[in-house]
């Protein structure tokens, strides 16, 4: 038996006495440390995404209400368009602006209005593209939550298996099977799984909640786009007749 290894194992076991989180981290193997740091980063980042999405969705639904109120207030759509200009603050007004711009361009060209059906088609397409682009931006990074939720437990499990392997190696090196030798290594190994679960559980819950909220918001935008498209095509019919 290699005396150096034995001595190292004995020292490691001897030091493995304080089971605070920091001590568990510090006395872990390099691989386990990397796993733990990755998991901590995943937890940090997924919570950043969660906070960001929740705050954003809340303010978006408030802004959408404001916009719908203005939109249905009966004031001129031209005025609304002027007020928003080219800097829409939120997806619903972005859809509105995209449709209005297309409408005004078509209206500015003499004779363009003659083909009302193609204009209505164009308007629908523009609004659909705008909606998809907005939803794409909103759904960005959701994939990280999904992957964290599914991968983090496995990553933690990997750290645990690695740590337990080390523990058994230490047992083999010292031929000491007392609980004091085995327990710290196992505690340290299980710590990796604990961090993995800590990262994964909020990520899964938040992913489910946020994606359903996003779906609801997307439906709301689609409904608005449909209604606005209907209004515009009615306007086209009035104008062409």
């Amino acid at each position: 038996m290699d005396p150096v290894i034995t001595q190292g194992a004995v020292n490691a076991v001897g030091a493995a006495n304080h089971l605070s989180a920091w001590a568990l981290f510090m006395q872990a193997d390099l691989v386990v440390k990397i796993v733990m740091m990755g998991l901590i980063f995943a937890s940090l980042w997924s919570w950043a995404i969660i906070f960001d999405k929740v705050i954003r969705l809340r303010s978006l639904s408030r802004q959408a209400e404001d916009f719908e109120e203005k939109f249905w207030s009966g004031s001129s759509l031209e005025d609304l368009y002027e007020r928003i200009g080219t800097k829409p603050r939120e997806p619903m007004s972005a859809i509105f602006v995209a449709a209005m711009r297309e409408w005004k361009r078509s209206a500015a060209k003499p004779g363009a209005v003659s083909n009302a059906s193609t204009l209505a088609e164009r308007l629908d397409r523009v609004m659909k593209i705008s909606l998809e682009r907005e939803m794409d931006i909103l759904q960005r990074r959701m994939i990280f939550l999904a992957s964290t939720g599914s991968v983090a437990p496995f990553l933690g499990l990997f750290g645990t298996v690695w740590g337990i392997m080390n523990t058994f190696t230490a047992i083999g090196a010292t031929s000491d099977t007392s609980l004091a030798t085995v327990a710290p290594g196992i505690a340290e190994a299980l710590f990796a799984t604990a961090i993995g679960l800590v990262a994964a559980i909020p990520a899964v819950i938040a992913y489910n909640k946020i994606s359903s909220d996003l779906n609801r918001y997307a439906v709301r935008l689609e409904n608005f786009a449909g209604e606005f498209g209907a209004i515009l095509s009615r306007q086209l019919d009035v104008r062409s007749s």
Binding site: L19, S43, L44, A48, D52, K87
Partner: protein, 274 residues
């Protein structure tokens, strides 16, 4: 990122990162400051009986290379002799020091319960006998007879020690780990009992041990007095040398954690030198 001019303005995303960081730091801080579950001290271990020893075993336990001496009628009249300079005074045949007082304090955590917390050994023999008499008069008589005989026959240390320990373990004849360690180190301690004012001295030595029981380090606790007071220095050196020269300390490896942060031995001849 290039984007179509008609997409909505995206608010910046640092807020989420800052909030997330704050949450994690808060959770970690909470676990360290208030939540007890990660800081819990290791569960207290019930005292482990190191050895099952009979009185005879203990009597034989400290195998000290004591020069066997002839019984003296009155060995307890130490005149204050000229002070010796040597740190460790070899025991003089006439004035063989009776086993000194040992109190072992465990720094990290005192044992919650001990089957038989050994009462202060250092009490003078007469007093002990009185206590003993209160408990069992019959046994006392026997004991007294025995010890008297022993006293008269030899004043050698092991017997004396046995007499001191005997009352603690007479019931069950078990010995806790601390007692074993105490007896072990007691056997190695040499002091000059004739030294002036030695019964006023007591020194605490903190001992760090390795897993195999060998002594890693022995520190004298009161270093200020160690440098200031030469009598204390001599005394403390003798105590430290006792620990260092004593070889491996007997303890069970499972209990290493208990002793890892150092054991404090209190060396004090008080009450034994008269």
């Amino acid at each position: 990122m290039r984007r179509s001019p008609y997409t909505s303005i995206q608010p910046n995303e640092t807020k989420g990162i800052v909030l997330s960081l704050a949450l994690h730091v808060g959770v970690v801080a909470a676990t360290y400051v208030s939540l007890p579950f990660l800081r819990k001290d290791p569960p207290e271990q019930a005292p482990i009986i190191l050895e099952l020893v009979t009185i005879d075993d203990i009597t034989a336990a400290p195998p000290k290379p004591v020069p066997v001496e002839e019984p003296k009628p009155a060995p307890k009249q130490p005149e204050p002799e000229p002070v010796k300079v040597a740190d460790i005074a070899p025991p003089q045949p006439d004035q063989m020091p009776p086993p000194p007082d040992f109190k072992i304090k465990e720094e990290p955590k005192p044992e919650p319960k001990k089957p038989a917390p050994p009462p202060q050994k250092p009490k003078p023999p007469e007093k002990k006998k009185d206590q003993w008499a209160d408990l069992q008069s019959l046994v006392k008589d026997l004991e007294k007879k025995e010890t008297k005989k022993q006293n008269q026959q030899q004043a050698a240390v092991p017997q004396d020690q046995a007499k001191v320990i005997a009352p603690n373990i007479s019931d069950k004849a078990t010995m806790t780990e601390l007692d074993a360690i105490r007896a072990h180190i007691e056997a190695c301690w040499r002091i000059d009992p004739g030294k002036e004012g030695i019964d006023e001295l007591s020194a605490e030595v903190r001992v760090y041990i390795n897993r195999d029981g060998s002594v890693q380090q022995a520190q004298i606790v009161d270093m200020g007095r160690y440098f200031a007071d030469s009598a204390f220095r001599t005394f403390a050196n003798s105590a430290r040398n006792a620990v260092l020269s004593c070889g491996n300390i007997p303890f069970s490896p499972q209990r290493y954690d208990t002793f890892k942060d150092g054991i404090v031995f209190n060396f004090s001849p008080q009450g034994r030198v008269n």
